[in-house]
């Protein structure tokens, strides 16, 4: 069972992403912000789904910090956020994000994206 780390300061978003992915057969781990996520990433994680606006360390900072570590260069990361500004999307893309999903998301599209990126 593939593990997905969901990073969001909102418990409702973590729950909703978690339910959608667990119904699709994934094991879901949770982190409440970038700092928490950095501490939880390990080799068993197949993919990260990360909010942008979070306290302590936002999603883009976390992505850039993660990519600075050679071990996580290829780990798929998708940003899941209310933000939709092209500049932010471009920054995430340059930092190595594999996708950008705007909240509120459609569960089946999120699952399809995860299936594609973890195939």
């Amino acid at each position: 069972m593939k593990k997905i780390l969901v990073i969001d300061d909102s418990p409702t978003v973590r729950q909703q992403v978690g339910l959608a992915l667990s119904q699709a057969g994934y094991q879901v781990l949770e982190a409440v912000d970038g700092v928490d996520a950095i501490g939880k990433v390990d080799a068993s994680i197949a993919m990260l789904i990360c909010d942008v606006n979070m306290p302590r360390m936002n999603g883009l900072e976390m992505l850039e910090k993660l990519r600075a570590d050679a071990r996580w260069k290829a780990l798929p990361v998708v940003m899941l956020t209310t933000e939709g500004q092209p500049a932010l999307i471009e920054r995430a893309k340059k930092a190595g994000a594999k996708g950008w999903i705007i909240k509120p998301f459609k569960a089946e599209l999120l699952v399809a994206a995860v299936q594609r990126l973890t195939a």
Binding site: D9, S10, P11, T12, V13, Q15, Q16, L19, A20, Q23, V52, N53, M54, P55, N58, L60, V78, T82, E83, G84, Q85, L88, I89, K93, A97, K98, G99, W100, I101, I102, K103, P104, F105, K106, A107, E108, L109, L110, V111, A112, A113, R116, L117
Partner: protein, 299 residues
């Protein structure tokens, strides 16, 4: 003037505190309810999964396919009945052959008895001739003895032959009864075989129908589960309003903080402004009604 400015900033600070407190209270309430609704949605999906798994376990094992328990049991029982019926039919046919052989043997015995009777008649003639010869030779002891022995022998043969003939007659009467009984038995066995085949056909047909019905029911259950999961996804999508609204409400604090900062500048005083409640990488307003919401971009 400075005191008035400070009072104004204090009022704004207190206003921020009240706004943040109220927004957090509202967000906490909606968050708890949405989390609860999410758990209910999950429970519905889990119950459906469990129910369908149980249905599959109960139905698929006994009648799900040709190799299922009931299918195997019925095939085994049908084969047993077929083999048993064939064995009984074979035994009845063998019995009929034996009865025919006995009838033939009885006929041979009757023929042999007639031949014995013919030979005995010859022995009686010989006995009479010996007695005549004994008279002619003035009571020859030799011819007399022969005549007596021949007569005794003839009587013994006649007695034995009568027993054989009686037995043959009795058997001739019994053979037709045996043939009739064999025919009756063959008829009963054939009737049973036909009825057993018909009943086996009915059972096998019913099992096949049941298998089709079970297969259709399980397929319908899978479709129902897929529908439930799909609806749960729709419900989860709808529940996401909470996070967007929570962020939107917290952003009010940012606006008041900005107003406080601008007021301080206008009043020409230094103001220590607490960080905004909503951490954001941009200053853009949270859009509560996004047209592009749900959009997925994969790079």
């Amino acid at each position: 003037m400075a005191a008035t400015a400070q009072t104004t900033l204090d009022r704004l600070r207190k206003l921020r505190e009240r706004i943040i407190a109220r927004v957090r209270q509202v967000n906490k309430t909606t968050e708890e309810d949405v989390l609860s609704a999410g758990r209910h949605v999950q429970r519905v999906v889990e119950v459906a999964h469990h129910h369908i798994a149980r249905l599959r376990e109960v139905l698929a094992g006994p009648v799900g396919n040709e190799d299922s328990d009931l299918g195997r049991a019925i095939r085994s029982q049908s084969e047993h009945v077929r083999q048993h019926t064939a064995s009984v039919g074979k035994a009845v046919a063998e019995h009929a052959a034996q009865v025919a052989a006995v009838a033939e043997q009885v006929r041979s015995i009757t023929t042999a008895a007639r031949e014995i009777e013919r030979l005995n008649a010859a022995a009686r003639v010989l006995s009479i001739n010996a007695r005549i010869e004994a008279s002619r030779s003035s009571g020859s002891a030799v011819f007399g003895t022969i005549a007596n022995e021949m007569q005794q022998l003839s009587k013994a043969i006649a007695s034995a032959n009568k027993t054989v003939c009686d037995l043959a007659n009795a058997m001739e009467k019994s053979v037709p009864q045996l043939v009739r009984q064999n025919h009756t038995l063959a008829h009963v066995v054939e009737g049973y075989a036909v009825e057993a085949r018909d009943r086996i056909d009915v059972v096998e047909r019913r099992v096949a129908e049941l298998r089709v019905a079970v297969s259709a029911t399980l397929a319908e259950s899978d479709n129902a589960l897929a529908e439930i999961v799909k609806e749960s996804h729709a419900a989860l999508s709808k529940l996401q309003f909470q996070d967007v609204c929570a962020q939107g409400l917290l952003q009010i604090d940012g606006w008041v903080a900005e107003a406080t900062r601008e007021t301080a500048v206008d009043l020409g005083v230094e103001a220590e402004i607490a960080p905004v409640a909503h951490a954001s990488v941009t200053n853009d307003d949270v859009e509560l009604d996004r047209r592009e919401a749900g959009e997925v971009m994969l790079f």
